[in-house]
Amino acid sequence: MAPKPYLVATCVIAAFAAPAAAETIRIEMQNLGYSPATVSAHVGDAVEWTNGDFLAHTATARSKEWDVMLLPKKTGRIVLKRPGEIEYYCRFHPNMVGRISVAE
């Protein structure tokens, strides 16, 4: 049986009306670095870090807005709430530095 025409129409409208789907940006912590070290994202996206090292790490915003602590082999995430350039680092290993460019 063919779908009823009005049902199809509703779906099409919903698809256009919905905002761009939020993405999850994945960053690996490995060999004492963030990989990739620089990412671009949009407000509403999530950033997810996975710690591949055998040491504990953090992803800590310089602004102190967020601070994600990750034990070895664990994953942690934040949701980006506003646009801007965010620099973050590892509190335990200050040489580890990353950047997120957040667009509207």
């Binding site: 060999n31 004492l32 055998f54 040491l55 504990a56 070895p72 509190r91 290993h93 200050p94 040489n95």
Partner: protein
């Protein structure tokens, strides 16, 4: 002046241990012992700092040292077990321990800002010395590839510690 002198003498003394290691090329069992011992020494120093210091930066750094060196040493223990290598005590390890006892005794006599400065300066020198030994002797001498790789990872971690210690020392 005293803390600076302390750090300088610690560097000299640790340096002596490294020269010994260069004299006779250490085997994997000795390398594992030296690396593990060096880590334990830094954990002990950090625990002393956590007992004595009230400085936020110093305490955070000391906590980092306990956390990282414990993780590296656990990794090292797991590796020697896997490789069926029994860490072997040696002149370099003994010398490291002996010098560390001297440093510890000096640090114990200090308090407050003097302690913080001496601890931080010593951490800079200690990591410099250990990193130098890793680069010049321990890594090139290691024959097992997994041990060599762990030492290389260790070097990267400890170079970070050295820079972190320099930042802390400068902030005091």
């Amino acid at each position: 002046m005293f803390p600076r002198l302390l750090a300088a003498s610690a560097a000299l003394l640790f340096g002596a241990g490294v020269v010994m290691a260069q004299g006779a090329k250490p085997n994997d069992a000795q390398i594992a012992h030296i690396a593990y011992t060096a880590g334990q020494i830094d954990i002990k120093a950090a625990k002393l700092a956590l007992k004595k210091s009230k400085n936020k930066e110093v305490r955070a750094f000391a906590q980092d040292m306990v956390r990282d060196h414990t993780a590296v040493n656990q990794k090292a223990l797991a590796l020697v077990k896997k490789l069926n290598v029994k860490p072997e005590d040696n002149a370099t390890s003994k010398s490291l321990v002996q010098q560390a006892q001297g440093t510890e005794a000096s640090l114990k006599k200090l308090n407050g800002a003097a302690f913080d400065k001496a601890y931080a300066d010593n951490e800079v020198e200690y990591h410099k010395t250990v990193n130098g030994a890793l680069e010049s002797t321990l890594i090139p001498s290691a024959s097992n590839p997994e041990l060599k790789e762990l030492l290389q990872t260790g070097l990267k971690i400890f170079q970070g510690h050295q820079q972190h210690a320099e930042q802390v020392a400068k902030s005091l």
